[in-house]
């Protein structure tokens, strides 16, 4: 039984963590750039892990490729483009602000602004209503007209 368990250990003991000591670049500035970039790239076969965290072999390959590109003199954008050309925009954890994604990026700011404006109008209207008592329908309409400007 013990032998069996030991065999299981040997088979199962995969790499225990993400970035391996042998991957690290000698130049600390380049390595820091590589780490920062790989924290924003998704491992294609994992459940929502970055290639920086992932233990999957493909994540290791991508980390190595990324470092090769940086060593070869690519800019950050070029190195990432090299990977997205091969794995698609799926690997970007920061979705591009293009096409339909504009909705994703701008929905919340627009919502925030309209909520603030809406709340401001509501407060002003309710104060006006309190000061003058209940408004007639004509007054209500006129008020709405005035508030539009």
């Amino acid at each position: 039984m013990r032998g069996l368990l030991l065999a299981a250990v040997l088979v199962l003991a995969g790499p225990a963590f993400a970035v391996q000591p042998d991957e690290i670049l000698a130049d600390p500035a380049l390595e820091a750039r590589a780490r920062a970039l790989s924290e924003g790239l998704r491992c294609p076969v994992c459940q929502g892990e970055t290639i920086d965290e992932s233990n999957a072999p493909i994540a290791r390959d991508m980390r190595l490729v990324l470092r090769e590109r940086l060593v070869a003199g690519d800019s950050d954008a070029e190195a990432v483009a090299y990977l997205t050309d091969r794995y698609g925009e799926f690997i970007l954890f920061r979705p591009r602000a293009t096409g339909a994604n504009l909705f994703l990026w701008f929905a919340a700011p627009v919502l925030l602004l309209s909520a603030l404006v809406g709340a401001g109008l509501y407060v002003r209207r309710s104060r006006a209503a309190e000061r003058s008592g209940p408004l007639s329908e004509a007054e209500e309409a006129r008020l709405a007209e005035l508030l539009k400007d």
Binding site: L12, A13, A16, I91, R94, N101, S126
Partner: protein, 669 residues
């Protein structure tokens, strides 16, 4: 261990574990029937004015919770006795598993966790029956019926798609074990707390529905709903903090939040609950914002359901995984549609009846709470859209894309910064009308202190990102602002501080807790250091201000795993600070390796060591971190929860107290 036979068909029936399981199954079916009765009779009674039908609500709610509790106990019994004739037990347990994880394994799987979900739902319903005797009978009857409708829907979901009492035709000798990552104390109690929170919001929803059906919301309503929302929010806070703490020490790289869909599913209801418990204050004190508060109650529970759907349907992993096995997902989607759609429709039909009674200036406590609500609701919306956008993009635009931490950091953080800036100012503004300059003058000391501490932080920042100093600025501003608020409430007299109502202390502590969490998050993100290297046994290496020695690496054996354990000494200035034992474990039954980080917890720094693989030259890969201010994140969360609990224990807020003192539609103030 002897193998017990299932019930024999001949001869007298004696005690048998199999019988307990069957009784549990039977109780669950009976609970479904009771829930249907509870969903219809009290509501019909309220509509037709039959008091005796309305009075059936509480006893039916009690019966329902008793039946579900019996079913749940039967399932726990099956896990504890390792009855592998049950499919869920076989798939999620093992005889060698420690007892605590056998018990926790009951809810560590889909079927069992849904059973816990309805148990808590029924428990909340029963509480409304037990403690709600001061409520208007019709309101209580309607709320209990709505609560039972939710219960019946989920009991049907369990019985028809996720039955934990399904048997295997030929029971195996042993089980497949629980995922080793889940065999952990932090995670054993994480789901029950989260569910208490998620499901606690059902009370706010049921009472919102009841109020809409009646077409009336008043201060007594808010005084009844707020404690329940507060309780749910406290549980959610603790549940989220436990989950985040677990991720920090268990996953092996010391992250505390990943913007994972499952985490987001718990954050959205938390944000809405936080908004709701603040807006309920406005309804209670000033009888304005009624319609908005009702809408928040619908949304808070609605997002609990959405969270349940996202987590339980598999839709998050991929649209295709969902399409291939849609039974459960479609069922929850239908429940979701009925309750959120029904809630919003009822709201649209009746909201105009919720007339506000008073007005307030933009700069006032009400105005500040409106701002709080807007920021929290928009923050929840950011989380929501970021979570579902990959699904939308794939389904509608055929784009396979990901939304991760960079998006959420960019879109969520500004809202929290605005919230932190506004909070101390808003908290000291008077009701109805205030002056911003006056509030700002009162808080000058807090602002100066925050700026001074930020300057200190910049002095030690040494070129790292400005994140930590800015987080410290906001955190100190929040804490100092809360202190000044308490000081003013006590009339600037120290002796009166102790006599302040608990609700005031609760508020101060919860708001300070938010500040402490801000400091923790910002410093952990900005000031942590990492070191990855290979080390031979006997060697030492520097880690920030510390020196770490790898003394030994040994093989060992746990109850249901094998381990490779290192012994590492951490020194500072020659003196030993800690001896740590990071491990690599293998759980042979689940066929899964895990890393167990070893952490020396500190007030300021955590030292966090992870053991990696043996290298060809006999050295070991070691990953080590100094995690700055990590514990402040969870300390702050606990302060928030404790502040909430203190507020909950205030006499004025005790569950049902307000409702009892303010009978029927008598509006307060």
């Amino acid at each position: 261990m002897t193998q017990r036979l299932p019930i024999s068909l001949s001869g007298p029936t004696v005690y048998s574990p199999a019988m307990i399981t069957e009784l549990g199954h039977f109780c669950l079916i009976l609970a479904f029937a009771v829930a249907i009765l509870q969903a219809s009779l009290p509501l019909l009674g309220a509509e037709t004015g039959r008091l005796r039908w309305m009075a059936l609500g509480p006893p039916l709610a009690t019966l329902q919770v008793a039946l579900i509790a019996a079913a749940f106990a039967a399932l726990v019994h099956a896990f504890v006795t390792s009855d592998f004739s049950l499919k869920v037990v076989y798939e999620n347990s093992h005889t060698a598993k420690p007892m605590i994880y056998k018990v926790a394994g009951t809810w560590g799987n889909h079927e069992g966790s849904m059973l816990l979900w309805v148990l808590i739902l029924a428990l909340f319903g029963a509480c409304a029956g037990w403690f709600g005797s001061g409520l208007p009978p019709a309101l209580r009857a309607r709320a209990l019926s709505v609560q039972a409708m939710i219960g019946a829907a989920f009991l049907a979901f369990i019985l028809f798609t996720s039955n934990p009492f399904l048997r295997l035709a030929s029971p195996p000798f042993d089980g497949r074990d629980l995922n080793p990552l889940l065999q952990d104390v932090g995670l054993a109690f994480h789901p029950p707390f989260l569910y208490l929170g998620y499901v606690g919001l059902s009370m706010a929803f049921s009472f919102a529905m009841a109020a809409l059906i009646e077409g009336r919301v008043d201060a007594a309503w808010a005084r009844w709903v707020r404690p329940w929302t507060l309780a749910a929010w406290i549980f959610l806070t603790i549940g989220i903090a436990l989950g985040s703490w677990w991720a920090y020490y268990e996953l092996g790289w010391g992250g505390f939040w990943f913007w994972d869909p499952v985490e987001n599913a718990s954050l959205m209801p938390w944000l809405f609950a936080a908004a709701l418990l603040h807006s309920a204050i406005v309804v209670e004190k000033r009888e304005v914002l009624k319609a908005w508060t009702i809408l928040l109650a619908v949304l808070a529970f609605g997002f609990s359901l959405i969270g349940t759907f996202l987590v339980r349907s598999g839709v998050i992993t991929s649209v295709h995984a969902f399409a291939n096995d849609p039974e459960r997902g479609v069922f929850i989607l239908m429940i979701l549609g009925v309750f959120i759609g029904g809630g919003l429709t009822l709201f649209a039909l009746r909201a105009d009846r919720m007339q506000a009674r008073g007005a307030f200036a933009l700069v006032s406590r009400e105005g500040a709470l409106v701002l709080n609500n807007i920021l929290l609701a928009v923050a929840a919306f950011v989380v929501f859209i970021g979570t579902i956008w990959p699904l939308v993009a794939e389904a509608a635009f055929d784009r396979k894309l990901s939304v991760g931490a960079p998006f959420f950091d960019a879109a969520f953080t500004p809202l929290m910064v605005l919230l932190a800036i506004a909070l101390p100012l808003g908290a000291i503004l008077p009701w109805k009308r205030g002056r911003l300059t006056g509030a700002a003058r009162t808080l000058v000391a807090a602002a100066l202190l925050a700026l001074a501490v930020m300057a200190l932080a910049f002095a030690v920042n040494s070129g790292r990102s400005a994140l930590a100093p800015i987080g410290i600025l906001l955190g100190v501003w929040l804490v100092a602002g809360a202190c000044i608020d308490l000081w003013l409430r006590a009339g600037r007299t120290p002796s009166r501080l102790t006599r302040l109502p608990r609700a005031d202390w609760g508020r101060g502590i919860a708001h300070s807790g938010l500040g402490v969490t801000f400091i923790g998050i910002a410093c952990l993100t900005g000031w942590s250091t990492e070191d990855i290297r290979t080390v031979k046994v006997g060697e030492s290496f520097p880690l920030g201000a510390y020196q770490v020695v790898l003394q030994a690496v040994e093989e060992g054996e746990g109850p249901n795993y094998l381990t490779t354990m290192a012994t590492m000494r951490v020194l500072k200035g020659g003196a030993e600070v800690a001896v740590l034992h990071p491990e690599k474990r293998v759980y042979p039954v689940a066929a899964m390796p895990t890393t167990e980080a070893a952490i020396a917890n500190g007030f300021r720094d955590d030292i966090y060591l992870v053991l990696g693989d043996a290298q060809a030259d006999g050295s070991w890969a070691i990953r080590s971190y100094v995690k700055a201010f990590a514990n402040w994140i969870w300390a702050g969360s606990l302060m928030m929860a404790f502040g909430g609990a203190l507020s909950l224990s205030d006499r004025r807020l005790r569950v049902g107290a307000g409702a009892r003192r303010q009978p029927l539609a008598q509006p307060a103030e």
